[in-house]
Amino acid sequence: MGGSAIGHIAYALAAAALVALAATVKTDGYVANILMQATTYAIAVFGLSIVLGLCGQINLAQAAFFALGAYCVGLGTADYHLPFWLCLAGGVALAFAAGAGLGLSTLRLGGHYLAMVTISFQQILTVVLINAIGFTHGPDGVSSIGRPGAFASGQAYLALAVAALLITGYLVWRLANTRLGRAMRAVRDNELAASASGIDVFRTKVIAFALCAGLGGLGGGLFAGGFSYVSPDQFSFADSIVLLTMALLGGVASPIGSTIGTGLLILIPEWLRFLKSVSGLYLAIYGAAVILIVVFMPDGIWGFIGRLFRTRKRSPLESAEPLALCPADSGAPVALEVRGLAKNFGGLMAVDGVDFQVRRGGLHGLIGPNGSGKTTTLNVVTGFYRPTAGAVLVDGVDVTALPAHKRTIAGLGRTFQNIRLFRSMTALENVVIGAERRGNSLVASGHDALRRRARSALGFVGLGDRAEETIPSFSYGHQRLIEIARALAANPTVLLLDEPAAGLNSGEKKALHDLLDRIAAAGLTIVIIDHDMTLIAGVAKHLTVLNFGRRIADGETADVLTQPDVVAAYLGAA
């Protein structure tokens, strides 16, 4: 979903045409109201497509943010006689800030907590709107809400709303392919991999949440001006659910889906008006529909259509530049140093005072029997676990206090034992995310430079001609290679590979062996954990052996593998 120049121009033309239509075609009041409602709701649903569709986080309070915008415009123009634009901007800002605040306080916790906090916020706001009568007018609501002078007529205001819809729709559509949008999608697909690729997961989630809230406020503000009257019962928890259902029905990942969903769920009740004669029947069907959509059409209508028409794109065979790898070199002889590392899991000492140094350049193996603490050590070194004691130094710099994404920026790259790729994206996009980590000096800014670097990395691992395919179409062995390419694109100083040979057949292992040699030849330092000793012995010059969380051997490969206590660690007694 890139967007060629033609696509943008076409959109702009179509948008202009729609706005012109809205401004000129006369409709009766009833239709105009429906269009106004659909338009403003759709803007709020765009917000959900950002936070839920792109970023994978739940927001059950969108109606509350909608209300913040609506009441800002309502009270601002009716009670305080402030200009419309000021009130609208204030509403958006207030909603944005509320979203950021909620996000900051709870996005570190799991999904359930966020759901509950958003519901609580919604409930509190509803209670305040109803009961703070002196300020909010309580259940009577706010009437005589103003409009901007230039758009005072119903027709003109509708055109304004439609224009706002098309502009925000465009921005949300474009967001998916910006750096921030990619970060959001990465967080949605695989938080750990996103961290390992240098993305600040928490910050990304908070931004997504705040943007969603801001769009809710925008929709609400326009809604208030459109209907000239707002009251608390229009912004309850049930309305948050309605907005959520609109997002899900159409397809939560795209603005087109959002628009479809909103349109359908506002129009269908009109077509099925007879259902409303029995109060509750319509919403009961609604509720059942939510379940059915979630079970059978998780990607919504637009997602479903999109899947029918997905074509496998073969990228043009542009010759990729060779991959430049320039690992940082401060002059210190040791690229990675681990000192006195310990990790305690509630009484279990998984890592118990481990030291080793990895000399610059070449391959260093970290081995040991199952349960010896290798992966735990790796996770502590890369910042996914906090050490109980000890220090980690990369290229002489102490990174022990840094979170995972900052260690990537400091020069650590890693792959995971259970391959962690962003499955909804293409191979190229996965590698681009690796390439665009902050501080990557080998990439000029700009989308083209990123794509070139990503192509080079994919070419380096042998997958250059399949860059535009999505992850599920690759074999397991190839997915491993993409993960390595993603790490390489970031130009790491030290690359840590967690069981890269797991699940590979012998042909794939040979290819991996060659790849590792080529990476080492470029000057990178590699630390490899694996159980395939043939591979390890073939590529690693040095080994550190762990057993029961302690280091039992460290030295040249050939020596270490014949040491009796190493043999005993693996086989039992010598």
Binding site: G56, I58, L60, S105, T106, L109, G111, H112, Y113, A115, M116, V117, I119, S120, F121, Q123, I124, V127, V128, I130, N131, F237, A238, I241, L244, T245, L248, V278, S279, G280, L281, Y282, L283, A284, Y286, G287, A288, A289, V290, I291, V294, V295, P298, G346
Partner: protein, 291 residues
């Protein structure tokens, strides 16, 4: 002092209702990792069933009660099959949304079938209550507290003293291991849903004479029960029960001393505060669960 005790009594009384709903909610969560947003609707549906049988059809109270509870058991089973089972292998988000859909479906089905007029359900006993020193003990509240304590005792007995209770716990703690031993995990989950629906139903029938029986009663109770589970420590059974009592007391005192109209906001305010300050709740997540 008398006022304080009266508030305490009322708070514990309404807190007992929250505790029952929270208990049902936590049991489902522990067995299936599902956050059941329709838990409150179980209470609401049961209350309406009671109105139908005891008020509209005039059946004896005890009979209407049994039939309503049987209906709730059936609802729990259907809920398991239609809402949870098809999604049991998906992530938490689709399941959560599905339970929200079920919640909307249930509340609006009742609306469609019965109408939006709030109903009145008489209390169990004819005597309205009696005075004990400075405190007026409303009979329905006494029943609520009594039944809740009995159910909590039953819960304890079931889980700690019976083999099936052990199987239910095992299913919550490690589904795959339970399967390997031959525990019928699907049946355990079905029992959990049925039991939780019945608990929710009893809570609804108990509290209905105190409030009006309305479509919205379920969601308000449920949201406060959720708050209770978080304050007590998400996923902890004892925590849910105590959290329910705590919310009832906080809310009652808040309404009396601070502001009546904002009563409903207190539970959520407490929730937000806890989430920010101490997300693991009063009891935290026991180390056992992490093992």
């Amino acid at each position: 002092m008398g006022f304080f005790l009266q508030l305490l009594f009322t708070g514990i009384g309404i807190g007992a209702v929250y505790a029952l709903v929270a208990l049902g909610f936590v049991l489902i969560f522990r067995a299936t990792s599902v956050v059941n947003f329709a838990q409150g609707e179980f209470s609401m549906v049961a209350a309406f069933l009671m109105v139908v049988f005891a008020v509209d059809l005039g059946w004896p109270y005890w009979l209407a009660f049994l039939i309503s509870i049987a209906g709730m058991a059936l609802l729990g089973a259907v809920f398991n099959l239609l809402v949870y089972y098809p999604l049991r292998n998906r992530t938490y988000l689709p399941v959560l949304i599905s339970t929200i859909g079920a919640s909307i479906f249930l509340s609006n089905s009742v609306l469609a079938l019965y109408g939006s007029q709030a109903q009145v359900l008489p209390g169990w006993l004819d005597t309205p209550g009696f005075q004990l020193g400075p405190v007026y003990l409303d009979s329905q509240y006494l029943i609520i507290i009594g039944v809740t304590l009995a159910l909590v005792a039953f819960q304890y007995w079931l889980f700690e003293r019976t083999l099936i209770g052990k199987k239910l716990q095992a299913t919550s703690q490690d589904k795959e291991m339970a399967t390997l031993l031959g525990v019928p995990v699907a049946a355990m989950i079905m029992i959990t849903f049925v039991y939780s629906a019945v608990l929710g139903g009893i809570a609804g029938i108990l509290v209905a004479p105190v409030l009006f029986v309305s479509i919205q009663m379920g969601s308000t109770i449920a949201l406060k029960a959720f708050a209770a589970t978080i304050i007590g420590g998400f996923g902890d059974v004892a925590g849910a029960i105590l959290g329910g009592f705590a919310i009832g007391v906080i809310e009652t005192f808040g309404a009396a001393y601070i502001s009546v109209p904002f009563k409903d906001a207190f539970a959520f305010l407490a929730l937000v505060i806890f989430l920010v300050v101490r997300p693991q709740g009063i009891f935290g997540e026991r180390v056992a669960e992490k093992a």
